[in-house]
Point group: C2
Chain length 303, copies 2
Amino acid sequence: MPVTPEKTRVGFVGLGIMGAPMAINLIEAGYEVKVYNRTDRPRVQEVVDAGGQRVATPGETATDTHVVITMVNDSPDVEQVVLGSGGIIHDAPPGTVVIDMSTISPRVTRDIAARLGEAEIDMLDAPVSGGDVGARNGTLSIMVGGDSDVFQECLPILEVLGSSINLIGGHGAGQTTKLCNQVAGALNNLAVAESLMLAAAAGLDLEKVLAAISGGAAGSWMMSNLAPRILSGDFAPGFMVDLQQKDLRLVLQAANELGVSMPGLCLAHQCLNAVQHAGLGQEGTQALIKAYELQHGLQARKR
Amino acid sequence: MPVTPEKTRVGFVGLGIMGAPMAINLIEAGYEVKVYNRTDRPRVQEVVDAGGQRVATPGETATDTHVVITMVNDSPDVEQVVLGSGGIIHDAPPGTVVIDMSTISPRVTRDIAARLGEAEIDMLDAPVSGGDVGARNGTLSIMVGGDSDVFQECLPILEVLGSSINLIGGHGAGQTTKLCNQVAGALNNLAVAESLMLAAAAGLDLEKVLAAISGGAAGSWMMSNLAPRILSGDFAPGFMVDLQQKDLRLVLQAANELGVSMPGLCLAHQCLNAVQHAGLGQEGTQALIKAYELQHGLQARKR
């Protein structure tokens, strides 16, 4: 049975920069939403003002609701709110669906899904791409792992939150797909950095170089979106270096488990390490180029 | 004065997979074209059949013409046809313009431009991107270095050959921009390889993964165009590994001259070395992934 607003109450755990606007979108779509956040923040009050019913534990978001969404930072956070003290597993009745939209380890995802399965609770892993803008506009890209029937049932909720929604495979497949996404993005970002550094070292007009190459075979979302910010000296975060590094650690952990060698991704991760150690972890991922700039004493900027 | 077909005869040196269709496009646009090629090939006859007047030396393409285009393999080839025995410099009258559309060293380009300048011959470096399809359709992307007045004069010819034409800066700036293009393209290709290998090692449905990630922040021309060929096992060359490696050697040479560190590009170059040493240098650049497949005994293909 599809989870329409008329029939379904929803729990939402984690009202961060992504979670808060997602919860508000569900409320505005007509869902009754019970919300939980560990800390008090203005953002939490915004969700309550929009109509969210705040409760005292993650578990309480699962009483009288059918679907509980988790949107927290990392694998241990999901383990805590789902399996820990006061966690969802202790209060959710059989038949509940937990949709974890955080980006975490595929292996931990499979472990949590197995534990929930023993309690007859279903799980989807459904990490997202598209940033806070996508979260606000309901245009996230959602990569899903889990059972096909559960996915179909939950589609009305996912369609409120995202515009590109793909079931890839079983438990963990959504998380692994998100990691593949991060691998390609990080290396495309490295491509922008090395390309611009060569042009800058040669003294070229970087805007003319970008205009000449970004529409062709060298083009990428990263080149079209991040390179102009680099040239204008705008390092405000669309997606923060510190969070990207968490994702790349998940990639390298998955690569270790699967026995895959990823030298390029590892290089991008190391460049971002240098950026973090220069105190720039709160900047946007376009700051990757600063690993090169610091090394060369040369800036890739508009003249 | 713009070099219109009514007023201008053109010389063309190098009737390879790119040069032959480019020369034919000029003939079909109404230019009288004198052509030279070192070897006899069916392709040369095609140009003659289309109306090209074949001559015996590169220099002869420059007698009674105002513009001579060179489209050969590498820096020594351009040096030979421009400065060597029977070369353009010996026969071209002052005021001639040499447009070198090969991809060669920016430093060698500046040296040749200086030598030509002493003979009062102008030069543009105008390497292209877009492959044999772009050459046939007259839709190449052309990255130009040289004098602005000479560029303006030659635009009517460049507009026959390409659809995106950008003057970047002085002599060599077109070549350096082409190298920046190759850097970004090669690293975006590496991004596709590592992303697909992670997905393949995890046993995911690669077509579903691509559908989920290629439209977003991880997207690139390489992902949209090469990844589907990889999945279907199509390694026919759009752009050949052996030629890509020539370009990447030019990049590393330029990086050495400029003192720029390019670890990512170097990694892509080394992966393609492995592909070449496996005897696959005549395949398309999407074969970069085979460096990973060989290492892992795992193929990224449709199931």
